[in-house]
C-alpha cells in the first residue's frame, strides 16, 4: 500500500515537467498561479542553482522562521558591486518562505525580469502554495500569543521593496551576507567575485558594539522605507547604514507626519533618553497608525526594542 503511494508519487513527478527551475516562467510575462510551477524545489529539496542563504541581521517578522534561496539561471552570474545590493542577472529569483515550527505559511518570490523585478506572494495550502496577489491574514499562535499574521499583498511587497519607484531586493546586500556564503556562490558559478569587505554585525551578537548592532538592526528593519529614495523619503528620517547626517538618522529630529505616532514626544531619538524617543515608542506599539514598520509586524520584537533602547541610552545628550 505504502509502496503504491510512493509509486503514485513517483509517477506524478515523472509525468510533470522535467525537474529543475522553469526559466521561461521567470523571464516570461505571466504570473504563475502555483509556487510549484517554478520548479524551485524537487521533492522538497532545492533544485540545481537554487542556493540557500542567511543574513547577518534579518528583518523581524513576528518571530517567523525564514528559509531563503537565491536562484541564478545557468550560464549567468550575479555581479558584485560593493557592499550594497548584489546585481542579479535577468532570470534570477529570490525565494523566501515564512512559517513557524510545524507550519509553513507563505513563500514570497522576487523574479528578475527584463522589465525589472516582480514580487509575488504565495500562500501555502497542503503541499503547494497558491498565488494570492491580494494578500491574506492567517490566525496563528506565536510564543503563546494569538496574532493575525499578515501575508502582504502585491502592492505591499513593493511598498517595502521600492527605490525611486522600482522594485529592488532588500536582504541580499553584500554587507549583510557572510564571506563564506559569498565564497560558496562564487564556487557554484553564481557570483562573479567576493572581495573581503566590512560587514553588518549580527544584531544579536553580544561581542559586537551596541551602536553598530543597533544601526544594523535599524538599517534592515527600517532602512528599506526610511531612505532617500524609499517609501518614507518624505519623512526626512533615514535609518540606513550609510546615512551620515545625525539629524536624518533621527537624533534630535522633530517629526513631520507622525500624527499620533509621535506618542506626545518631540523627537525621533532623544540621546540618552529612550523613554523620550518616538522611534522606540513606535517600535513598542502594535497599533496600526502608530506601529513601525507599518507592515508585517503584529508583535513587539522585545529583543530588538532592548537593543535600540540600549543604543539610545548610550548616545551622549
Amino acid at each position: 500500500m505504502r509502496l503504491l503511494a510512493c509509486l503514485a508519487g513517483w509517477m506524478l513527478v515523472a509525468s510533470a515537467a522535467p525537474p529543475g527551475v522553469n526559466d521561461a516562467l521567470i523571464s516570461g510575462d505571466t504570473l504563475p498561479p502555483k509556487l510549484s510551477d517554478f520548479g524551485f524545489f524537487t521533492n522538497g529539496r532545492p533544485s540545481a542553482r537554487v542556493h540557500p542563504y542567511t543574513l547577518n541581521t534579518p528583518l523581524f517578522s513576528d518571530y517567523a522562521e525564514k528559509e531563503r534561496f537565491i536562484y541564478v539561471p545557468a550560464g549567468k552570474r550575479i555581479m558584485y558591486r560593493g557592499g550594497g545590493p548584489l546585481d542579479f542577472p535577468v532570470g534570477s529569483a529570490l525565494i523566501k518562505t515564512f512559517g513557524y515550527p510545524g507550519r509553513t505559511l507563505e513563500t514570497r518570490v522576487l523574479m528578475r525580469r527584463a522589465s525589472g523585478w516582480v514580487a509575488l506572494p504565495y500562500v501555502w495550502d497542503g503541499k503547494d502554495a497558491e498565488l494570492r496577489r491580494g494578500g491574506t491574514r492567517i490566525p496563528v499562535e506565536v510564543h503563546g500569543q494569538q496574532i493575525s499574521y499578515a501575508v502582504p499583498n502585491q502592492n505591499q511587497c513593493k511598498e517595502c521593496h521600492q527605490l525611486s519607484g522600482a522594485i529592488e531586493p532588500i536582504g541580499p546586500k553584500a554587507r549583510n551576507l557572510s564571506q563564506s556564503l559569498l565564497g560558496d556562490l562564487v564556487k557554484a558559478g553564481m557570483l562573479d567575485r567576493a572581495p573581503a569587505i566590512a560587514r553588518l554585525p549580527h544584531w544579536d551578537d553580544p561581542k559586537a558594539p551596541v551602536a553598530a548592532r543597533a544601526r544594523a538592526y535599524l538599517d534592515v528593519n527600517c532602512g528599506h522605507c526610511h531612505n532617500r529614495a524609499g517609501s518614507a523619503s518624505n519623512s526626512g528620517l533615514y535609518l540606513t547604514w550609510e546615512e551620515a547626517d545625525p539629524v536624518a538618522r533621527g537624533i534630535g529630529k522633530t517629526p513631520v507626519a507622525a500624527g499620533r505616532g509621535s506618542g506626545g514626544l518631540d523627537v525621533a531619538i532623544a540621546p540618552g533618553r529612550p523613554d523620550l524617543s518616538i522611534l522606540l515608542y513606535r517600535m513598542k506599539s502594535t497599533e496600526p497608525g502608530v506601529a513601525m514598520p507599518e507592515l508585517g509586524r503584529a508583535m513587539v520584537h522585545t529583543e530588538g526594542v532592548a537593543l535600540v533602547s540600549d543604543y539610545i541610552a548610550g548616545l551622549k545628550p
Partner: protein, 394 residues
C-alpha cells in the same frame, strides 16, 4: 472636419478601457484589493454603493486608473477594524482619479498619495466619526511628493493633524472643499505653487496653514495664493498629539503662514477666530539644516473681510498682551520677523517685534504693526493644471 475627428480620437478613452465593479459583502477586503492590483491603465474600479468593513489598508499602484464610488455618503469604506498599514488607501501611481466615495475611521492617515503625479481627489469624504480625538489619524487627504495635485469638493472631518494636507509637492489646487473639526483644516507644507480657494475651513483649531519645515527633501515653500475662502469659527481646542508641528498652532487661528516666500492672502472672509484671523511668523524651533530659511519673505495680505477675532488669545503670553491692548488681540498678528511682509487690510495688526523667530515671547515688544506703503510685489501666477485633470471631473 478631419481635425475634429482627430481631436475626438485623441480624447476618446482607449478601446480596451473597462470598468471593474466591486460590490459590498463578504471578503470585501480581498476583492477590493485584488481589483486595485489587477486593474489595467485606463480602467475604472467602480465601488458600488454600500458599506465596506475593511481590515487592512488598500493600495493602488497602477497608472491612469479611476476609483469611483456612488457618492461620498453612499459608498463608505470603513476602517474601524483596521489591523495593519499606515493609511486607509495609498496611491503610488500617476494620473489617478479618486472620486465619489467616503473613507471612515482609518487608524492612521485617510487617503495618502505619494509620488503620484496628476492625482485628482474629487467629491471624496474622509471622516473620523467619533469627532475630534487625538487618537484619530493624522491626515485626511494626504498628497505628498507629487507634481500636479487637484483637491476639489473634498470634505474632511476629525483629522488629528491636517484635514487636507499637501506636502513637498508642486503645482497644487485645493478648492471648493470643506475642512472642519480637524486640528488644521487645510495645510500646504514645503510646497511650491499652490492655489487654495473657495474652501470652507471652520471649527478647526487652525483654518488654513502655509508652513515650511527643515530637514526635508523639499523645502523653500513659495508662490502660494490663499483666496476667497471662508475661514470662520475655528474654535476646536487643538487636539494634536504633542511633538507634531501643528500641536503648536494656537486654537482659534484663521490663516497661519510660517517660513514661506511669496504668499498672498486675499479676498477671504474671516470671522470668529478667537486667537487671530491671520498669523504671520517665522519658524521657532531650533534647527541645524543650513539650507533651510526660517523666515517669511514676501507675504501680502489684502482685501480680506474681518469679522470678530482675537477674543480668546491662545498663544503663550497672548492673554497678557490682549489685556494690555484693551481685552482682545487684533485680527492680524505678526511676530515682526522676515522681509516684505505687507498687510493692506484696514484692520488693526499687532507685531511682537521679535528680534528673530526663535526668540521667546519675553523678548517681545508688542505694538501696532507698521507695514510699508506703496505697491505690492507681483502676485504668483495662477496655478494651471494639465487639462486632463480638469476633464476627469467634468
Amino acid at each position: 472636419m478631419k481635425a475634429l475627428a482627430l481631436a475626438l480620437l485623441a480624447t476618446a478613452a482607449p478601446l480596451a478601457a473597462k470598468t471593474v465593479t466591486v460590490a459590498p459583502g463578504p471578503d470585501a477586503q480581498e476583492r477590493l484589493q485584488a481589483a486595485l492590483i489587477e486593474v489595467q491603465p485606463g480602467d475604472t474600479v467602480q465601488i458600488a454603493a454600500g458599506r465596506y468593513e475593511l481590515t487592512d489598508g488598500l493600495s493602488l499602484d497602477v497608472d491612469k486608473v479611476t476609483v469611483k464610488g456612488a457618492g461620498p455618503d453612499a459608498t463608505v469604506l470603513s476602517f474601524k477594524n483596521q489591523q495593519g498599514a499606515g493609511e486607509g488607501l495609498l496611491v503610488t501611481s500617476d494620473d489617478v482619479v479618486l472620486r465619489d466615495f467616503g473613507v471612515e475611521d482609518t487608524r492612521g492617515d485617510g487617503i495618502k498619495s505619494k509620488g503620484a503625479d496628476r492625482i485628482v481627489y474629487h467629491n471624496v469624504r474622509v471622516e473620523w466619526t467619533g469627532g475630534p480625538n487625538e487618537k484619530n489619524g493624522a491626515y485626511g487627504v494626504y498628497p505628498v511628493s507629487s507634481t500636479d495635485v487637484l483637491v476639489d469638493r473634498v470634505t474632511v472631518r476629525g483629522a488629528s493633524d491636517a484635514g487636507i494636507y499637501v506636502g513637498q509637492s508642486k503645482n497644487i489646487i485645493v478648492r471648493n472643499s470643506t475642512a472642519e473639526f480637524n486640528v488644521a483644516g487645510i495645510e500646504i507644507e514645503n510646497s511650491h505653487n499652490a492655489d487654495v480657494y473657495g474652501n470652507t475651513a471652520r471649527k478647526n483649531a487652525g483654518g488654513i496653514l502655509v508652513f515650511d519645515l527643515p530637514n526635508l527633501p523639499q523645502m523653500g515653500g513659495h508662490a502660494i495664493r490663499v483666496f476667497e475662502n471662508q475661514v470662520v469659527e475655528n474654535d476646536t481646542p487643538n487636539f494634536a498629539p504633542k511633538g507634531n508641528i501643528v500641536a503648536s498652532v494656537p486654537t482659534g487661528t484663521g490663516v497661519m503662514v510660517m517660513a514661506n516666500a511669496d504668499v498672498f492672502v486675499f479676498g477671504n472672509m474671516f470671522a470668529d477666530n478667537g486667537n487671530t484671523n491671520v498669523m504671520l511668523i517665522g519658524y521657532k524651533r531650533p534647527f541645524t539644516d543650513k539650507s533651510y530659511n526660517p523666515l517669511l519673505r514676501g507675504v501680502v495680505v489684502r482685501d480680506n473681510k474681518h469679522g470678530r477675532a482675537g477674543f480668546a488669545p491662545s498663544f503663550p503670553g497672548g492673554s497678557e498682551i490682549a489685556a494690555a491692548m484693551g481685552g482682545s488681540l487684533p485680527p492680524i498678528f505678526w511676530d515682526g520677523t522676515g522681509t516684505g511682509v505687507i498687510v493692506k487690510d484696514a484692520v488693526p495688526a499687532l507685531s511682537l517685534n521679535l528680534p528673530s523667530p526663535e526668540a521667546s515671547v519675553d523678548q517681545a515688544k508688542p505694538a501696532p504693526a507698521n507695514f510699508p506703503d506703496g505697491p505690492v510685489p507681483p502676485e504668483p501666477k495662477p496655478v494651471v493644471l494639465p487639462a486632463s485633470m480638469e476633464a476627469a471631473i467634468k
